[in-house]
Amino acid sequence: MSRGLSRAGLYLLAGIIALAAAFPFYYAAITSLKSGDALFSMDLLPRQWHWDNYVAIFAQQPFATTIVNSFWVATGVVSVSLMLGLSAAYALSRNRFRGRRLLMMTILGVSMFPQVAVLSGMFELIRWLGLYNRIGGLMLSYLIITLPFTVWVLATFMRRLPREVEEAAIMDGAGPLTIIWRIFLPPLMPAMFSTGLLAFIAAWNEFLFALTFTLTHEQRTVPVAIALLSGASEYELPWGHIMAASVTVTVPAVVLVLIFQRRIVSGLAAGTGT
């Protein structure tokens, strides 16, 4: 009896959490299908299916370019983060050297600064490098967000790989790069998928740097483009367009998670040492 009750309680709780997490997205989805005054009536089910908003965001502005920009930025950030993260993790987890702990702590410390704190310094750096209003500048600045956790997670996973396997590879004549690529990378793939996906989402959704370091429509990424969507007059917020754009750009992230779900779960399980 009490067993059944606690089970029911568990499902109830899980239901509430799922509802709280999914409802905003659901509401955005049905709002994106409305137009005109219907936007401001509270409906739990869509009355009509209007695709006008979706057509409008691609027709009235270079939204497709924006998505491509976002895609390149996120992909670039993921590849660079994983490559640098993997090699840094190797150095930090397999070698003992003076200042190793300090370096690990610094990397962690960097990720604790609020983005606003580094904004002006980063702006100067990007201007000096000639990367202002280029997606290369965004990639560079996103690395300070994604690298710390990539390095930490990969270093933690790598520390679990037995030392003797590495030494066996050294005896076989493998250098550090061969060891990283051919000995350590394959068992680390689940961790690479998880951190890569997190880095992708972080880069895909980033707003502040993207707003500050770009100027023109052609260089913008998705979050900025959505925020700067304008209506017919400056007194009108185009909720329909905003929601349609939001739904459009959330889909790739969801699809990615679904594709790699299995690998991520096995990565997390491996991380707990089972």
Binding site: P162, E164, V165, E167, A168, A169, I170, M171, D172, G173, A174, T178, R182, I183, P186, P187
Partner: protein, 375 residues
């Protein structure tokens, strides 16, 4: 094929010296076993030869070449690890081929060598399996195969059998002996198991506190230990140690005063010591017989009997100032606990050590007992 020569090798980790000024030559084709208690530096020594650790000072030569500054791959040595250390995501075949491929050997040559080695180790049917699909013994064979396939000048084995169960360990031990018989390479084998050391070694190097306590053929170490440490480390059960006083030293024997006041004869040359010196008498359990025979006999009471099938271990209490004497009886019916017994031993069976634990030379037996190794 190569001789391994260590010259004045020192290794410290920070302030802690692990290997102290060690000189050792391992002859070409020799099966050399490093034996010692944990912390004696035997694994460190192996890693120094492998090149996985750098010497603090001293030189290492393999086949006449100074390899002290060379990385592992340039030393042409192969190592088998305690945990086997197979690459988990590769099949047995890929594990064995990995080193050869890195050495830029042709695909056909790699294939031929891997298959030949696999055949010689009877692991052909396992080549397509990953380590997780292999038993401990099979992983061990693949790990050996990965070393053999590279045709190194020197093989290094770091406690390769300690992760296996007893039965498998006995079988694999014999296999190491056969492997050496077939390949005739120089092999260096680290273990803390004296059975492995005794059975496998051409030469046994007993290490203590980062230096060689004694080196030589296993039987020489067994019969003529140079120190109390070597005497007690080799042999199961351990040698009995009895405190004694040196009463007199004749040219062909020494007279000892035992704690119970009796005088015994030991076949050792103790002329270097003065009469009255405190000494330690060492007797191996198998050298002590039940019954009253000859000049050296002890009366005591049986406190414990351990039956081990073909033989029994009898613990005898005899004098409060000395510990129980352990003797090993072969055949017959062992005495029961509580029984009064007499133990005796031949003078030639004695080992005698001075106060610093150094052995007095044993005199060759004229007849009866085995003379022990010559070294």
């Amino acid at each position: 094929m190569a001789e391994v020569r260590l010259e004045a090798v020192c290794k410290s980790f920070g302030q802690e010296a692990v290997i102290r000024d060690l000189d050792l030559t391992i002859a070409d084709g020799e099966f050399c076993v490093f034996l010692g208690p944990s912390g004696c530096g035997k694994s460190t020594l192996l890693r120094l030869i492998a090149g996985l650790a750098d010497v603090t000072s001293g030189r290492i030569r393999i086949g006449g070449t100074d390899v002290t500054e060379l990385p592992p791959k340039a030393r042409q040595v192969a190592m088998v690890f305690q945990s086997y250390a197979l690459y988990p995501h590769m099949t047995a075949y890929q594990n064995m081929a990995f080193g050869l491929r890195l050495g830029r050997r042709g695909r056909q040559e790699v294939d031929r060598r891997v298959r030949e080695t696999a055949r010689s180790l009877h692991i052909e049917h396992l080549l397509e399996r990953r380590p997780a699909e292999l038993s401990g013994g099979q992983q061990q064979r693949v790990a050996i195969g990965r070393a053999v396939v590279r045709e190194p000048r020197v093989f290094l084995f770091d406690e390769p059998l300690s992760n296996l169960d007893t039965d498998l360990r006995t079988r694999m031990r014999a296999e190491f002996g056969r492997l050496h018989g077939r390949l005739r390479n120089t092999m260096v084998y680290v273990t803390h198991d004296q059975t492995e050391a005794m059975t496998l070694a051409d030469r046994l190097v007993l290490l203590r506190d980062g230096n060689v306590a004694q080196a030589g053929p296993p039987l020489a170490l067994y019969h003529n230990p140079e120190s109390l440490f070597a005497a007690t480390f080799l042999g199961t059960p351990k040698m009995n140690l009895i405190p004694a006083t040196l009463v007199g030293a004749e040219p062909d024997y020494a007279v000892l005063g035992l704690p119970d006041g009796s005088h015994h004869r030991a076949g050792v040359s103790a002329a270097a010591a003065r009469a009255g010196a405190t000494v330690t008498l060492g007797l191996r359990p198998e050298a002590i017989r039940l019954g009253d025979q000859g000049p050296n006999s002890i009366a005591g009471r049986v406190s414990l009997v351990e039956h081990l099938g073909d033989h029994a271990l009898v613990h005898v209490d005899w004098h409060p100032a000395a510990g129980a004497i352990l003797t090993r009886t072969q055949g017959g019916v062992p005495p029961a606990p509580g029984e009064q017994v007499r133990l005796s031993y031949a003078p030639q069976a004695c080992h005698l050590f001075d106060q610093d634990g150094r052995a007095f030379p044993r005199l060759p037996a004229e007849r009866g007992l085995p003379p022990g190794g010559s070294d």
